[in-house]
């Protein structure tokens, strides 16, 4: 039996101790927002936070999360309000196909918790463990660096002028 807190809810699940945290979250807790892109720690689509630290849940045995606080993409919004980085992804166009998006958002949350105003270079470095094939990263970096910049930035309009 594995007991942990997922997105502030206490969860107790029967799972073989060596099962991957990814499977326990997706199959056991039915939280399918966390994605599998490679299953070997290379793409970051499966990123979740364990006690605030971003990990690839495809590499983490579920037992390691026992007694811990796990945060998935489903837990980023609170009180019905999106996290600022989720809002910023919408405004800037940070998601296209969306399969990488949960992983990026979770990694970005950990980054922004530690460093609310990262430079573009810092954001690129922090997100280098998450692969996106759709966006070229430009709009993801826009979103992450502007997420906490203040509500009056008219991001979408300035980022891409049509001339």
């Amino acid at each position: 039996m594995i007991r942990f807190t997922v997105n502030d809810q206490d969860v107790a699940l029967d799972a073989p101790p060596m099962s991957r945290l990814l499977d326990v979250l997706r199959e056991g807790a039915r939280l399918t927002g966390t994605k599998e892109g490679c299953g070997e720690g290379e793409c970051g689509a499966c990123t979740v936070l364990i006690d605030g630290v971003a990990v690839n849940s495809c590499l983490v045995p579920a037992i390691q999360a026992d007694g811990c606080r796990v945060t998935t993409v489903e837990g980023l919004a609170s009180d019905g309000r999106l996290h600022p980085v989720q809002e910023a992804f919408l405004r800037f166009g940070g998601a296209q196909c969306g399969i990488c998006t949960p992983g990026f958002l979770v990694t970005a949350k950990a980054l922004l918790d530690a460093n609310p105003h990262p430079t573009r270079a810092e954001a690129r470095e922090a997100l280098a463990g998450n692969l996106c094939r759709c966006t070229g990263y430009q709009k993801i970096i826009d979103a992450v660096t502007e997420a906490l910049a203040g509500p009056d930035v008219d991001a979408a309009a300035t980022s891409t002028p049509a001339c």
């Binding site: 199959e27 939280l31 399918t32 927002g33 966390t34 994605k35 599998e36 892109g37 490679c38 299953g39 070997e40 290379e42 793409c43 689509a45 998935t72 993409v73 489903e74 980023l76 999106l82 989720q86 992804f89 919408l90 405004r91 800037f92 166009g93 998601a95 296209q96 196909c97 969306g98 399969i99 990488c100 998006t101 958002l105 430079t119 573009r120 270079a121 954001a123 690129r124 997100l127 280098a128 463990g129 998450n130 692969l131 996106c132 094939r133 759709c134 966006t135 070229g136 990263y137 430009q138 709009k139 993801i140 970096i141 979408a156 309009a157 980022s159 891409t160 002028p161 049509a162 001339c163």
Partner: protein
């Protein structure tokens, strides 16, 4: 007006909260898990398929070609590819049998205990040896398709300065982050539903109809985690397999590829070899251009003839020449079939053309930019196939990109050793890209879009899918703008072949430009239908709705009409190859590490003629994402095959796509030279960003180090070797 504004994507909220459901997120009641037994040989007879007697087969179902009720094929252009090998395998990873089991782990385990006995046959992996090779794979000569286009004076008769070059490139993997996947579920009426990751629901429908021998079936698109062409035709194979397992077990079956399997087995960009001979005047004017190519199609035809066609039609690049001779063959080899990948033959051609332009510039001592300006196509010029150009944007994008390149470079921040032994270079490439299907493809497909009005809500019914590029957002923008109603009134029906008409496949940069145009005309029909119903002449939708007495839903449908504006002869390859062209200029600034040969991207500028940006944020997103795929192709993405033609580097650790730290800062300029045939002037933009960057990188490496590279990818070893 809902055109030209970067509204957030319609499916964005679901995607940023984790609510969007991709195929692996679905789990029907009682679902089994499928897995695929694949060939380990490049060419062999399958002598026997046996089950390991020491393995516990309880609860496991095996499917072979004998279980196929209809025809054993993946129906596409030709009927050469079986759904499951029957007696002979023609490439490594070819599917031979399928298993279903109660868990995914057991299914994968069971596959290892299906024993295949092979009788080895001779094989050929070399495209240059394929035509007329004694071992026949396709037809009698291993040629899938042969194309020739001639314009002007006979080849070799024009006098001037001659340059000759050979240019090569290898496979490239689409690498959508969501692997291929499908769930098939038996229907109560004895039919079958498949839901999964796909670009083209009606391709899947067509394939299943042939395989199952009936059409009590529907194909439904789940949220799809990227495609880039890789989910154009291959999902038909995955759906076929899931359906066969569901048919035999009577249960829903989920079939999700593992990443390594996806890399080894699914289609990739066609490798190609180009030979170009040019004749120029002393100032660089092109006098004659002769180019030939070989495309490696792999073991089955799939979409290869159409890929070759687009490749050949782009083989002059965006340059004017009166005497042109283009030819090419697509050949069969005993390798996994190649298929669609963003650009569809054009990026290959553009690599060769732009590299050859640099060869000419080098040869006659002219600035590569001057050479391009001198020869760039403009309105009224004719293409190789004799089509007359209008709405050209070559000079506009070139000037816009050059102006943007005057701004200072962003600082290097990431490599601590930066600046120690680096050489800086800038490169530029000019490309054009035919928007929509080649030639009269649209007249064949005749895509349809339906609109259904309920109350004041308008639902768009289309098979054009959103694979990240933004269909769910852009079509409502087009329809709302045409009707003059708020965007909130318009939504999209699920992409289920039971609900939506066949709009044609989601490919070829045609979705916004062509199908969006059909949607716009359907909106006009809806207004007319309301006018007819109410007897009012006004065009104002609110007034018409208020005047309606019936509350019944109102449904209209529009089908693409060939207005004769594209004149094309598919037999002679003469006429308008495309309804219009997009134009793009790419400028890359990079550093080459002289010690390692590694290329560090600093900044990437593109200016692209998009006709009209329906949604500038989504449009720029397409251009940026495509550009980075091309930059990866340029320097890091290399598929390494073993002696059997199997991908050796079948993991994300050794097939290297760029990360956020590898990617340059991008400046993306949208230039709008409207195309009268597109909705609100829009041109297709999905593929053009793939065409130019690799050649721009090669020019930049040459500017930085003097190294001349004519083969892709330009890995650090190759760059070092050429320095």
């Amino acid at each position: 007006m809902t055109i030209g504004i970067g509204i957030p994507r319609a499916d964005g909220a679901a995607k940023v909260t984790g609510r969007a459901l991709y195929v692996d997120d679905l789990r029907p009641e009682g679902c089994l898990y499928g897995a695929t037994v694949r060939s380990e040989r490049a060419h062999a007879t399958v002598l026997a398929i046996t089950l390991d007697p020491s393995y516990d087969w309880t609860g496991i179902t095996l499917v072979t070609a004998r279980d196929i009720p209809g025809r054993n094929l993946v129906a596409l252009i030709t009927e050469d590819q079986p759904a499951l090998a029957d007696g002979v395998v023609r490439h490594v990873t070819e599917p031979i049998a399928l298993v279903a089991a109660p868990t995914r782990d057991r299914a994968l385990e069971a596959v290892k205990h299906v024993q295949v006995t092979y009788g080895d046959l001779p094989y050929n992996l070399d495209p240059e040896a394929a035509e007329g090779h004694p071992v026949a794979i396709y037809g009698t000569d291993n040629v899938f398709k042969r194309i020739a286009i001639d314009k002007g004076a006979a080849a070799g008769t024009v006098a001037g300065i001659v340059h000759e070059g050979t240019y090569r490139l290898g496979l490239q993997e689409q690498l959508y982050i969501e692997p291929q996947g499908m769930i098939a579920s038996p229907r109560e009426d004895g039919g079958m539903t498949v839901i999964g990751s796909m670009q083209c629901p009606y391709y899947v429908h067509k394939a299943l109809k042939a395989l199952l021998g009936h059409d009590r079936l529907n194909a439904v698109q789940a949220a799809t985690g990227g495609g880039f062409g890789g989910k154009e035709d291959y999902p038909s194979m995955v759906a076929a397999h899931a359906a066969l397992l569901a048919l035999k077990t009577g249960k829903p079956v989920k079939l999700i590829y593992r990443r390594d399997e996806d890399l080894r087995a699914t289609t990739k960009r066609h490798p190609a070899i180009f030979r170009i001979r040019s004749v120029v005047a002393p100032d660089g004017r092109l006098l004659e251009w002769t180019a030939s190519t070989i495309f490696d199609g792999g073991a089955y035809n799939t979409l290869t003839p159409v890929v070759l066609s687009r490749g050949i039609l782009h083989l002059t690049g965006p340059y004017r020449c009166e005497n042109v001779h283009l030819s090419g063959v697509a050949v069969a080899t005993h390798t996994p079939p190649n298929g669609a990948f963003r650009g569809f033959g054009a990026p290959q051609a553009m690599w060769a053309v732009e590299r050859h332009m640099d060869r000419i510039a080098r040869g006659i001592g002219v600035d590569p930019l001057v050479l391009r300006r001198l020869n760039l196509l403009r309105d009224g010029d004719t293409t190789a196939s004799g089509g007359v150009l209008t709405d050209t944007g070559g000079f506009a994008v070139l000037d816009a990109a050059l102006a943007a390149a005057e701004a200072p470079l962003p600082p290097i921040t990431r490599h601590p050793g930066a600046g120690t032994n680096h050489a800086r270079g800038r490169g530029l490439a000019m490309v054009f890209h035919g928007c929509g299907f080649t030639g009269n493809g649209e007249a064949y497909i005749k895509g349809k879009v339906g609109l259904e009005l309920r109350g004041s809500r308008v639902t768009i019914l289309t098979a054009s899918t959103d694979i990240g590029q933004g269909t769910e957002t852009i079509f409502p923008q087009i329809v709302a703008a045409e009707l003059g109603v708020p965007l909130e009134w318009v939504d999209m029906a699920p992409h289920d072949t039971d609900l939506v008409p066949d709009s044609g496949p989601t490919v070829a940069s045609r979705t916004t430009m062509v199908v969006g145009g059909v949607a716009q005309k359907a909106a006009r029909k809806l207004r007319e239908a309301l006018q007819a119903e109410t007897g009012l002449a006004t065009g104002d939708i609110a007034t018409l709705l208020a005047a309606r007495t019936s509350s019944a839903p109102l449904r209209v449908e529009h089908q693409y009409i060939d207005d004769g504006s594209v004149q094309w002869n598919p037999d002679t390859y003469q006429g308008d190859a495309y309804p219009t062209y997009g134009w793009s200029c790419a400028i890359v600034d990079l550093d080459v590490d002289r010690d390692t040969g590694e290329v560090l991207y600093r900044r990437f500028i593109s200016a692209t003629d998009v006709g009209r940006a329906i949604n500038p944020v989504l449009a720029a997103g397409q251009l940026e994402g495509g550009a980075l795929q091309a930059l990866g192709w340029a320097t890091s993405e290399e598929v390494v095959l073993d002696a059997r033609g199997c991908m050796r580097n079948d993991r994300l650790t050794n097939y290297i796509i760029p990360t956020a730290a590898d990617a340059p800062e991008m400046v993306t300029l949208l230039i709008e030279i409207p195309f009268a045939g597109g909705p609100f002037g829009a041109k297709g933009i999905g593929e053009i960003p793939m065409d130019g960057p690799a050649a721009a990188v090669a020019q930049a490496i040459e500017a930085a180090t003097g190294a001349v590279l004519d083969n892709l990818p330009m890995t650090p070893e190759r760059v070092l070797g050429a320095m």
